[in-house]
């Protein structure tokens, strides 16, 4: 790692004593941060620690109440994205801002002036590709691209505007392990390419940060909890800084692959609850996504499903709980099989309805006659208490809960009444690791209570952490593999 900053060259990006409040909530409190030229700077913190807000200040999307933003030593007077872009700052948001119906070239051209020319823009994108190694078909429609290609498109958009400081918000969250590795390598190359390049990586993955960054800043509750060169940190120290003292054991447990105590006693001793025999499942466009998959899940075990995004796992999980029809094959799944979808705002919650109503949603399709509202409200209140869901009451709108509490609520809803089986998809996506650990604990408790659990996560380490057995789905083909990181990783990429 290079530490070649001379005293003469100003930092690529500097934030000085930045303060920002939203209403009465203080989001940032006197935060300073220096991103040296030619370095990757990791910005860490729990959900809600202020990472994204800080970088939105740097990118001009949010004007600070107090404090300065300096780019290559020059102070930014206008806090607008346009000004930030002109100063050479580019940001790749966690949720991409691409127009799906347009081509890559058209997306890159958005916001520019003058006449648009397919050929010229394609040429520019190819030139960027040659210079930086970010290869993409300029005339491909964004909606046809994989998530990682969409991300490349976002980065190219920034580079096309001459970005020298790249800010990436949780870029690896949506990527498969090999794609994430490739991205991190690319970022490393980017900062070493020119002396005024720099990268800010917002993340809550300690591993990514430790692996790639030169410097780190840890935010906690809107203030700087720790900052310095990466070699001065240990995983334990980082966890302390992020969580504050006292929560480290849980955090490390959920974030880093530990040798967990295998739950071996139950395997083989219990009944098969979920059984798939040669399942073939097509997606909505009738493309086969799962081919001939056979497996079982027994009572009291967690079977982990590992797969690169888009390998057919979404279709397999939905078919397992009757939400997608089978093209062929046989499925044995109890009628009360619960499902926890990954996109909780889209598929799990009515955000503008009360928690009681959301609780009632679970059996809504089959319920007859009157809805027993009083009983449901009481039950929901009980469940909130039992599962430590922080909400004022069962009458508040689901929207008012934090992401972690929403997820705990959804899980509690699925687990209420002890279903025989549970199918669960990316349950900790977007959660900080305190919330993630709570989700994991709930799943382990459910397993120990005899529930058969089929668990998918796009985070391989999470699958390895929690699963008793591991299935790998690659391009629609399913097989069981030993629970070892290297083996599973290779199977996901089909490098047998």
């Amino acid at each position: 790692m290079t530490h070649a900053t001379t005293a003469a060259s100003p930092p690529a990006l500097a934030l000085e004593r930045v303060q920002k409040s939203f209403g009465t909530v203080r989001a940032l409190h006197d935060v300073s941060l220096q991103v040296r030229r030619g370095t990757v700077h990791a910005l860490l913190g729990e959900n809600g620690a202020g990472k994204t807000t800080l970088m939105r200040v740097a990118f001009g999307l949010v004007a600070p109440d107090r404090g300065d933003v300096l780019v290559q030593g020059e102070i930014m007077r206008n806090h607008t994205a346009r000004n930030a872009i002109q100063h050479g700052v580019g940001m790749v948001h966690q949720h991409f801002s691409l127009v799906p119906a347009m081509t890559v070239a058209q997306n890159v051209a958005l916001g520019e002036h003058g006449r648009y020319d397919d050929g010229r823009m394609s040429e520019r994108i190819r030139a960027i590709g040659e210079r930086t190694g970010l290869v993409i078909d300029p005339l491909a429609r964004v909606s046809d691209l994989s998530v990682s290609a969409q991300q490349r498109c976002e980065i190219i958009k920034a580079l096309a505007r001459d970005a020298r400081v790249l800010i990436l918000d949780e870029p690896t969250a949506v990527l498969a392990p090999d794609e994430a590795q490739a991205l991190l390598r690319w970022l490393r190359g980017f900062v070493e390419q020119r002396s005024d390049h720099a990268v800010v990586l917002i993340t809550h993955k300690l591993r990514d940060a430790l692996e790639i960054a030169d410097d780190m800043t840890v935010l906690r509750r809107g203030a700087t909890a720790a900052a310095g060169a990466v070699h001065t940190f240990t995983e334990a120290g980082l966890a302390d800084a992020m969580l504050g003292p006292g929560d480290r054991t849980r955090a490390v447990e959920s974030e880093v692959v530990p040798e967990v105590t295998r739950h071996t006693d139950s395997v083989g001793a219990h009944n098969v609850v979920l059984r798939a025999d040669a399942l073939t499942v097509h997606d909505a466009r009738d493309v086969p996504r799962v081919k001939n998959a056979s497996f079982t899940v027994r009572a009291g075990e967690i079977v982990g499903l590992a797969a690169v995004e888009g390998s057919g796992q979404a279709e397999l999980l939905r078919a397992m709980c009757g939400l997608l029809p089978l093209a062929s094959g046989r499925l044995h799944a109890p009628a009360d099989t619960g499902f926890v979808p990954e996109d909780r705002h889209r598929d799990a919650l009515m955000l503008d309805a009360s928690l009681t109503e959301n609780f009632a949603l679970r059996d809504a399709g089959a319920r007859r006659g009157r809805v027993p509202w009083t009983a449901l409200a009481n039950r929901a209140a009980q469940v909130l208490k039992q599962r430590d869901v922080r909400a004022e009451s069962v009458e508040v709108m689901a929207r008012t809960l934090s992401g972690g509490n929403q997820q705990k609520f959804i899980l509690a809803r699925a687990l209420d009444d002890a279903p025989s089986a549970l199918v669960i998809e990316n349950p900790t996506r977007g959660l900080d690791f305190r919330a993630a650990a709570a989700v994991h604990d709930a799943l382990r408790d459910a397993r120990d209570a005899g529930i058969a659990i089929l668990f998918y996560s796009s985070d391989l380490d999470e699958v390895l952490t929690i699963a008793d057995r591991v299935l790998v789905l690659h391009d629609g083909t399913l097989r069981e593999v030993p629970r070892e990181r290297a083996t599973v990783g290779r199977a996901m990429l089909a490098a047998v």
Binding site: D144, A348, M350, L351, A353, G365
Partner: protein
């Protein structure tokens, strides 16, 4: 469910109603002054026309509130299911036309059972008219906002043809149907007034709709589909298409009933201008009531009073009713703008990062 949120939303409704009334009054005075009418005399004529006497209240305001309440319920139910049914006007006309046809066919044959059959025919026709939009939506993905508004015009011109063709009165002079015989008319419920039994029907249906949405499983399914169709399907295992179709048909049936009730209770004949845009005003009625069926009764009376008062103002003070139409339109815009503001403020107040995954390909 506890009272707190209910009380809060009731308070909000009252507050919105108050603001709306105040804005209406100010706007009306402004328009009257600008167009050179004496605001004092005009407003007096208006208030008298709407509330000035027992007769004005029952026979002008309430009588107009009945079709507004029924179409308002239709719109509210559809909107609660996430369906933007803008076609209550067309469904109302379909209902009126079907009832007219039924009355012509039945004549005096069924005795006491004839009237319910006539009303039922109107409901079925309204449902069928809405069903066209529903099929277009389910089969071909045609947005119901567009199809329903188009079908309004189709219904209007179809009625125009009917009253000059198959349903025209025997002398074939006037573009309207034969007068409905006394035995087939909705009875008047308060002697000395024009308030007919349709008012009872409207109140009853509002209560039933409220109860249904709040307490029954199928009502909850309808709301769930409206709140988040994707979650309803995934987490609630609700057959969204079925619920949508049922909601659309029910909405159409209510609007169709409005037409039947207007025909059998007020006009006793079918003609083109049977409805002065009740089905459009219904959107404002429903939105101002925040899509609450019980609230619809209140807002229907409010708009009924406005229209009754407007007619009186035209009659007694010579002020064109167009002025009232302008005020009505402004209220609709106000209500929609108010809803937008409320929505966007709740959205921004809770900037929870949406956890949606980038679109999968």
């Amino acid at each position: 469910m506890s009272m707190a949120p209910a009380a809060r939303s009731a308070l909000e409704v009252i507050l919105r109603l108050g603001i709306t009334l105040a804005v209406t009054a100010v706007l009306l005075v402004l328009l009257l002054v600008m167009t050179g009418y004496d605001p004092d005399a005009s407003l007096r004529a208006m208030v008298n026309g709407a509330f000035g006497s027992w007769y004005a209240i029952t026979s002008a305001t309430f009588v107009r509130a009945v079709p507004l309440a029924l179409t308002g319920l239709a719109v509210a139910l559809a909107f609660r299911a996430g369906l933007l049914n803008i076609g209550a006007e067309g469904q109302l006309l379909a209902g009126a036309a079907a009832s007219t046809t039924a009355a012509a066919v039945l004549g005096g044959t069924l005795g006491a059972a004839a009237l319910p059959v006539i009303l039922l025919c109107g409901m079925l026709a309204g449902a069928a008219w809405a069903g066209i939009a529903s099929v277009l939506r389910q089969r071909f993905g045609v947005l119901e906002v567009i199809s329903t508004i188009m079908l309004n015009f189709v219904a209007l011109y179809a009625v125009g043809w009917l009253v000059r063709g198959p349903l025209q009165e025997p002398t074939q002079i006037y573009p309207q149907s034969m007068a409905l015989e006394k035995a087939l008319q909705l009875p008047v419920v308060l002697s000395g007034t024009r308030l007919h039994a349709g008012s009872m029907l409207a109140v009853l249906l509002a209560v039933v709709a409220w109860w249904w949405l709040r307490y029954t499983s199928s009502g909850f399914r309808l709301r769930a589909v409206g709140l988040n169709a994707s979650a309803a399907a995934t987490s609630g295992r609700i057959n969204v298409a079925r619920v949508s179709v049922l909601a659309f048909l029910t909405s159409g049936a209510l609007a169709g009933l409005a037409g039947s009730v207007e025909y059998t209770g007020v006009t006793y004949a079918l003609y083109e201008n049977l409805s002065p845009g009740y089905g459009y005003t219904a959107i404002a009625v429903a939105l101002l009531a925040r899509l609450n069926p019980l609230g619809v009764l209140g807002t229907a009376v409010l708009f009924g009073a406005l229209q009754a008062g407007g007619s009186a103002m035209q009659r007694d003070a010579g002020v064109p009713i167009a002025l009232v139409n302008v005020v009505e339109a402004v209220i609709i815009l106000l209500v929609i703008a108010g809803d937008r503001v409320r929505l966007s403020s709740t959205r921004t107040a809770n900037t929870v990062a949406p956890d949606s995954v980038p679109e999968r390909t």
